[in-house]
């Protein structure tokens, strides 16, 4: 699955990046976020579009698996 790393970016940037990436990969992708606001906001965005989001905690970041 395609991966998007938003580490180092703060809101709303990771949501904008996810929006662009989902246009290119509408079937889903994994988004890496490194702060809680981004984790919550990217999850809200994908959920609002009808995607499922599975979250795995890494070291100092989260992997959000976004799928149909």
């Amino acid at each position: 699955m395609k991966e998007l790393d938003t580490s180092g970016f703060s809101c709303p940037e990771p949501v904008i990046m996810t929006k662009k990436a989902l246009k290119e990969s509408p079937e889903g992708l994994t988004v890496i976020v490194d702060n809680r606001a981004s984790k919550e906001n990217v999850t809200r965005y994908a959920t609002a579009l009808g995607y499922k989001v599975k979250t795995e905690e890494g070291s100092g970041n989260w992997h959000l698996m976004i799928s149909k």
Partner: protein, 337 residues
């Protein structure tokens, strides 16, 4: 003139750039308090401004507020920053009179941008009857602007955040949702026109319409959200503030901004700090919680008045609305149902 996108230069903006309330308390609680027999409100009360007795029945009210831009237009930014800073004087029941500017300005920007920010601030200050009479400027990577404002009031007319009583009606004088909409705006998802118009609107009329009416307590709603500022009043007054969610009014688009994840970072730190202080009924969704905890910029006055005075106030203030009531202190200082 070279076009400049002010918001592209900053990490966070408006009142969302405030330090989280929890961190602030850790840093400032129990500091040696400034002793002065003339100081009526100081550090301890988390009020909107300091209040200093002039000894002749009048008080001096002093506040400072500055932040990074939430809009790209420098004139608008100056207006919003001025309206926001002056608001603290209105929230104390005072008449704003004098101000000094605080400006942080990046060397990469054309100096004409600084002039436009000042022009916006001076225009807004004039609307409030305030003279900007000096200031200080620093070179900084991120632009920031605001005012230190001085106001005056008769000592018996000062509003603080500690006088709310059980039975008082709770009135809010602007709609909520500026923080959410400006986050969506930064992402290019909203023109936020109504939010911008509201942020640059002075709280002057909101304050002046209460003349002759009984105001037991007052504050304004900014970075700590409706929940955080309600908590400050509930704590200082020893009461519980009960908010009726269905009576809140939000700017158009605020709910969608929350649902699609355009939520300012401060929303999360606000909720962390307030988790054990605010009780929100389980029926409310994550989106509705986002709307309650999101920072506001240059928000409305939150007024606590006896119900009959509140009725009178609302008759003359079409922009204001009743959002709840004050009850005896229960388990949580703030409840939302």
């Amino acid at each position: 003139m070279e076009e400049v996108k002010l918001t592209s230069l900053v990490r966070s903006s408006g009142c969302n750039a405030k330090l989280p309330p929890g961190d602030l308390h850790k840093a400032l609680d129990d500091l040696p308090s400034a002793e002065s027999e003339n100081l009526i409100e100081g550090f301890e009360s988390s009020d909107d401004a300091l209040v200093y007795s002039l000894g002749d029945g009048r008080v001096l009210i002093e506040t400072v507020d500055f932040f990074p831009p939430m809009v790209d237009d420098p004139f608008l930014f100056g207006q919003i920053a001025a309206a926001n800073a002056i608001s603290d004087i209105y929230a104390m029941g005072g008449r704003p009179s004098l101000a000094m500017s605080l400006m942080c300005f990046p060397s990469c920007l054309d100096i004409s941008v600084m002039r436009r920010i000042m022009e916006g601030a001076i225009a807004k200050a004039a609307e409030a009857g305030v003279v900007i009479a000096g200031g200080h400027t620093l070179s900084d990577r991120e632009p920031k602007f605001g005012l230190a404002v001085t106001g005056f009031a008769d000592e018996c007319d000062v509003w603080s955040n500690k006088g709310a009583r059980a039975g008082d009606a709770v009135i809010l004088t602007k709609k909520l949702g500026t923080g959410l909409l400006m986050t969506a705006h930064k992402a290019g998802e909203s023109d936020a026109a109504e939010a911008i118009e509201q942020m640059r609107t002075l709280n002057r009329k909101a304050a002046e319409n209460a003349a002759g009416l009984s105001v037991h307590a007052a504050t304004d709603v900014t970075g700590f959200s409706l929940m955080g500022h309600s908590f400050e009043v509930a704590k200082a007054s020893g009461v519980t503030i009960s908010i009726d969610f269905s009576s809140l009014r939000f700017l158009p688009g605020a709910e969608d901004a929350a649902r699609f994840g355009f939520v300012p970072e401060g929303r999360y730190t606000n909720e962390d700090y307030l988790a054990d202080k605010v009780s929100i009924a389980d029926v409310f969704s994550i989106t509705q919680r986002d709307m309650l905890f999101s920072p506001e910029t240059s928000g409305g006055l939150l007024l606590f008045m006896p119900p009959e005075d509140a009725d009178e106030y609302l008759k003359n203030s079409g922009f204001a609305f009743r959002i709840g009531e004050v009850i005896e202190r229960g388990k949580a200082p703030v409840t939302v149902c």
